[in-house]
């Protein structure tokens, strides 16, 4: 065995092993206490900033720009018109492609982190990459084919395409999927044992991480609540990605001594604040409203039988709270940052 960490033992145990169960706990809070619409706020506050992190990673580093500028320019030029055409002409196809692409993207992120664990621990034996990739494909594919949450979706979708299946056929597909996964797990274990005999080491952190990630996915996929999946998955996927990008940029700057201008003053707080600002701008530019930023608060004020606020009153309440909070922080800040007698402050005067 050989231990290796993406960041540090504590950070990895928290962000890569404990985060999925924490995300599940948050998801259960949403499930039990918040309106269904509150899950959309997770998309605003976690998913949108994770896109922003992707922009930072893709377009913020000079080195990457030089390596991939053709892809960085032409990729969107090809993709965006395709999406416009797809939305107009074949919206269902577009929806299915995006759903599947989203799943592939999710499994590849966890696969990528698993690869980093092997890289960091020096446990990347020959063929490990391929074995891990197939493990991810079979584990995730099995979720989609066999678990109730996703089976309900594809079974129902087949009716649209006039391709409804008999119960026996669906059960056969699911049994086959479990069998294929079972056989592959045996093959994978064999690969580990043979590798161990040959002196290859393994990184237990990789397996802890994979168990935690797939544990979340399997668990929510057996629950009768799409909300649980939406909240737990988005938190795990988004938060891990946002942090990974930040650590990557920081490591790059430290190791190469060259920090791009755009990122030169980007500490973690500012990085996260910029992500939040991006989320707000993105939300309003795409036609979102105030309600989705507030985890359903504005709507709860309206539907509360005692308060029974009108939309205007609920929005006004929210706005008044936000304005008062900003003003209070401003008054509090000014009460100590402008002390003229302070020599450090005098330096700036």
């Amino acid at each position: 065995m050989s231990l290796g960490y993406i960041r540090s033992p504590t950070a990895d145990l928290f962000w890569f092993v404990a985060l999925p169960p924490i995300a599940l706990a948050i998801a259960f809070f949403f499930h039990n206490s918040l309106p269904y619409i509150a899950q959309a706020s997770i998309a605003v506050w976690i998913t949108a900033p994770h896109h922003y992190a992707g922009w930072v990673r893709g377009y913020g580093l000079d080195e990457d720009w030089q390596r991939w500028h053709h892809r960085l320019i032409f990729g969107p030029i090809v993709l965006i018109p395709s999406i416009v055409l797809g939305t107009a002409l074949v919206p269902i196809t577009l929806g299915i492609v995006f759903l599947l692409w989203d799943h592939q993207h999710s499994l590849m992120q966890q696969y990528g982190f698993a690869r980093i664990y092997d890289f960091k621990a020096g446990t990347d034996a020959p063929h490990t990459k391929r074995f891990d990739f197939l493990l991810s494909i079979f584990l995730y594919g099995n979720i989609l084919l066999t678990t109730p949450l996703w089976s309900e979706l594809w079974v129902a979708e087949l009716y649209r395409w006039d391709a409804a299946l008999h119960v026996e056929t669906i059960q056969l597909i699911q049994a086959t999927s479990w069998m294929v996964l079972g056989v592959y797990v045996v093959v994978y274990l064999g690969h580990l044992i043979v590798g161990g005999v040959r002196g290859n080491r393994i990184n237990p952190m990789k397996y802890l991480f994979l168990t935690s990630s797939y544990g979340l996915w399997y668990f929510v996929s057996y629950q009768d609540s799409f909300l649980l999946y939406l909240v737990a998955h988005r938190i795990m996927h988004g938060v891990q990605y946002i942090l990974m990008v930040y650590w990557y940029v920081e490591n790059k700057a430290e190791r190469t001594g060259r920090t791009p201008l755009l990122l030169s003053n980007l500490n973690l707080s500012r990085y996260l604040l910029l992500g939040a600002a991006y989320a707000i701008v993105y939300h309003f530019v795409t036609g979102g409203n105030l309600s989705l930023l507030s985890f359903g608060l504005i709507n709860s004020l309206q539907s509360d039988p005692i308060l029974n606020f009108s939309l205007e009153k609920a929005t006004g309440f929210y706005a008044a709270t936000a304005i008062s909070a900003a003003a209070a922080c401003h008054y509090y800040l000014d009460s100590y940052i402008w002390k003229i007698r302070d020599p450090e402050i005098q330096e700036g005067l």
Binding site: I37, G75, I92, T93, W101, D224
Partner: protein, 169 residues
Amino acid sequence: MLLVVYVFGLTLAALELSLPKFQLEYLTLPEALLKPETNIADVSSVLYPDRAYSFYFRALQAEMCAGPRRKTPPECRKRAPVKPHEIRELIERSLATGNRSIEMAMYNYAFVLLQENAASELVDEAIREWRFNYPQSPKTDPREMYRQMSQSIQGGRRIDDGEFEDRAK
């Protein structure tokens, strides 16, 4: 990767364009709910009998087969008659699972309560629950929808009665 996505997407797009038409509410059509052996209500009930969607699909199926036997689709006549309150009970069981992702289950629950002349507190509570979870839903208030439907049914009855009277004459 992009190439794989494009090839898959184009294949699916060709299929989508070649099919006659796509209906948004395709799962509420008789083909989906009543086709022997492969209808979604029976299939999902066998696969996942205690899940919200299974109960809801059964409620939709029951709704399609409710009413006088001679007026229901032929497939309904091979099925057991719909019991009183069956639709309401099935939706209640769907909602009792805690799954709140089926907006139509919440919406239709309020509607079914109105149809059954349930206590106004129950109707209000059902509508409040629907609005709490889907505050931005563009759907008409179930009370208003019920009122409009009742009026159109009464109008239809008047036409039927008129036709009957004409024929009797």
